[in-house]
Amino acid sequence: MNELIPPFDENELSAEDLAVLRAFEAMDRWDNHTAPLPSAASAPTVTTALPTKTTTTRILSSPLENAADDMLLLFIAEVEEDIATMQRALYQLEQDEHINHSGFVVLQRLGHKIRGTAGAVEFHLVASIAHIIELIVEQTTQGLIFPTIGVDLARRAIAALEETLEGIVTHGKETEIPLRELEEEYKQLGIDPYQNTPPVKDRHSSPGINTKFDDDTLPDLVAFRHAALPSSMSVNKQRFESLLNRAERLAEMHNPLERAQEQVSIALQELQAAQNRLQKLEPFLASLLAHARPMLYMNEVSTSSLIARILNEGTQRNELSPTRHARSRSWPVRAGGTTTWDDLDMERFAEKDLLVRSMSEAIADVTIASTHVRQAFAHLYRTIQEFSSQAVKVREGSLLLRLAPLNTLLPRLHQAITTIPGLQGQHVELKITGERTEVDESYLISLADALHRFIQTCTANAMPGERLTKPPIWLHIQGTINEIAIEIGFAMPIQGGALDALRDDIQYLQGTITLERNKNGGVSFYLRIPHSRSISRYLLLRVADEQFIVPFTQVWRISEVERERIDILYQIHDLLSCPLKNTSPARVRPVLLLPQNSSHRIIGIEVDEIIDEADLIVKPLSATLQRPGITGAAIDGSGHVLLQIDIPALIRQYLSVRPDMRERMRRSPTYAVPYPTQPKILIADDSVYLRHSLSQILQHANYTVVEARDGMEALEQLFQQSPDILLLDVEMPNLNGYDLLRVMVMHPELANIKVIMLSTRSSQKHIQRALELGARAYLTKPYSQDTLLAKIEEVRAQ
């Protein structure tokens, strides 16, 4: 559903226009008073086809009717002018043999313009006809109408336009007839003129002003933006040109490569021929060595006809030795020659000599030919090397296209952050290390946007206050070869809901986020993201005979079991349900240590072997193949499939079917919590009063109670106190209720804490969301004491 706009064509701009554009770009000061500014380089005014150019109106007080008449005159004049232009274009179209594309564009544009104008002055019939002209052009270029017929139809339409216009002039209003006739003709073509157009709003109703874009629609824009990204992107011009050059060089190398190959085949043929010649000599050699008579076909071998003749004669002479005398009589006498060579066995000597010579020639040929082959082959090899190294360069270049160094993030972030109202006047500390790390550029843009939104959400309630000495917010960004690690730290309490609002962004960036309390008393978020959406760095693991990959961002360190103090150790083949291969027990098995989070427990996964690390593109698996913890796969250089493991999901799945493991986790020795006789309930709410009153009720009902004032504290308490049930308010600072649910999902050891959500909001949407995020129940305030207690019982029983 696109606007019918003629494409922005740079070529349409004249040199003057371009100069104006440049001057405009260069302007960076405007004074409201008339200080003399350098005027544009070219002629000050730009001529247009229309009669009026810039007009200034001061406060008018002319009577209404005059204004209306002026308007009418103006309108008529303008439309007539446009019609004239259209007719010129039409004439051009009729003259050319081929369908002149630009002529149609002109018609379309003017049709569109007249439509708008006529609509504004409420001449709707004129607008309809203009619309039809637009449609004619559209359908002709789509191939629904023959061009000649299209042109003809356009001519009729323009005529109708003129007629209607005339009607306005003479009668003061539009006549219907021309439009009707036009529609008739159109219908006769068998095409519905309004077929492809989306329904246009009823022109006679008041069109209404569209409401402002309010922020509720923004999240959709995020998705739209992310979805729209793949179809176009901006690239660094220099790198693009460098890539083009490399690609051209690669293409140029194709010919030399072909020629080198040809050379090799020619040389090989040469060698083959030489070998053949050599082979043919072999029997002669054999017979000669055996002192047997040389064979009769020696003339084939020799390289000269004279020698051939001599040899021929020699053989004949030998054969006919008994009758030599008789023969010699009839033998043609040679010039100066006698026939007495035989006594000295000269023929035989000559034959041997010649054979030797032929052989050495043949061998020399073979040697030369094989040298040629070697040379040609070496040349081919070199050419192939050059070719493939150029191909590698092209690939590098294409990867680099999308990359930009990390420090380009800085100005973008700076600018974005200064616009956040809550931070006006505050100092935000921005630090980047590893700033030369190359990262996908569009990814950087998304990251900057995400960070901006994150900080904005967190500070939504902050008031621009006095300047604090210590920065209330800091951003430490670290680029390493494997990933980008970002700490977003707050020294002040923040608005809850950040995690919730940013879930899409984080997912899009394929990152992981954890949070902790920092030493300034506030919350720090740790975000780890790969360098680009498509290619990330992975660890290649071996499990039994198979290879799997794990994203780098999910692993903290690699170590060995003996060397670390590990709270919880999993076996990879347990998690994957693979059979255990019998490796020798002496062999040390590496262990992957997972990033520490608020629980401060060290969790490790023991694997068979860590093979390598690699940059790979991982694609999602089809729906039938997806399993919890295995949702994507990459293909390695040899065409093998490498399944990607998502560690948290895998552990979660494992624990959900292994209740014994869950219990073991709860009773981790690190936090020696005596197994409670009374069930323990954690109340998370920022209202002191509420906490107090709930606490009373629950203790009275024989529950052990712990309290938390905000989301961050609640998280810490969940780990330290291991409650059975969590009563969770939605609105809390630092992390709100939904944020906390999301964080709980990330920590499998919290999987069996049952959550009851408490909120004032009662809409289905909110309830749905809470339940989807893992809450067991949802209570709307106000609720009675009995309801609460009953709910708690109900949930406990589950």
Partner: protein
Amino acid sequence: MDTHPLNAFISDNSPYTRFPEQLSNEEFWNLAAQRARSVPTIQAGANESLLCTLGHGYCILPLKMLSEILTPPHYFSLFPVPPLWMPGVSAWRGEIIAVVDMDAYLFFNPPVSPGGHEEGMLLVAQHDDLKLGLFVSSVETIVRAYDEQLIPLQKGAGRYPHLRAQVLKGITQVHEKEALVLDTAHMFVDIEQNMRTTIPYE
């Protein structure tokens, strides 16, 4: 203009062939993307099928569901907790597809192991959105399955109880041996359901 190189891309279903420049950016992009993704399909006659040898018998597969036939070597990567007849997954044109050992699937035998295979043919088949790699010992010939030659199903199906009812269209005789004639749609449904309902971790 008729020799414009890009003309080959545009199908002639309009009175005038459209030149690619006339397409809007969106249309052009869509067309190019579509062409890039399309896989050349085997032009099959309506009734043509492929006779394949398996370890324990034959099977007959309709030709039009096959996208490509791959020669060895093959490599199947183990997929955790697969159905009994699935040696693993393999990569085909950038996609990951599940591999079905037809011998195991039809004749209830243990499947080939994951890993490399120097023998056997992998037939890439597609039905609706699902693509599978069907692993057979070898590909014999193209046959025309005549319905008259099918042994009535009541007699035949009894021997293959592990297969869902309509997967087997019938049994016919080829080279004096039994060959199972398979129904594409039902077979795919059966395979897919088996893959989905396998409980991952027990």
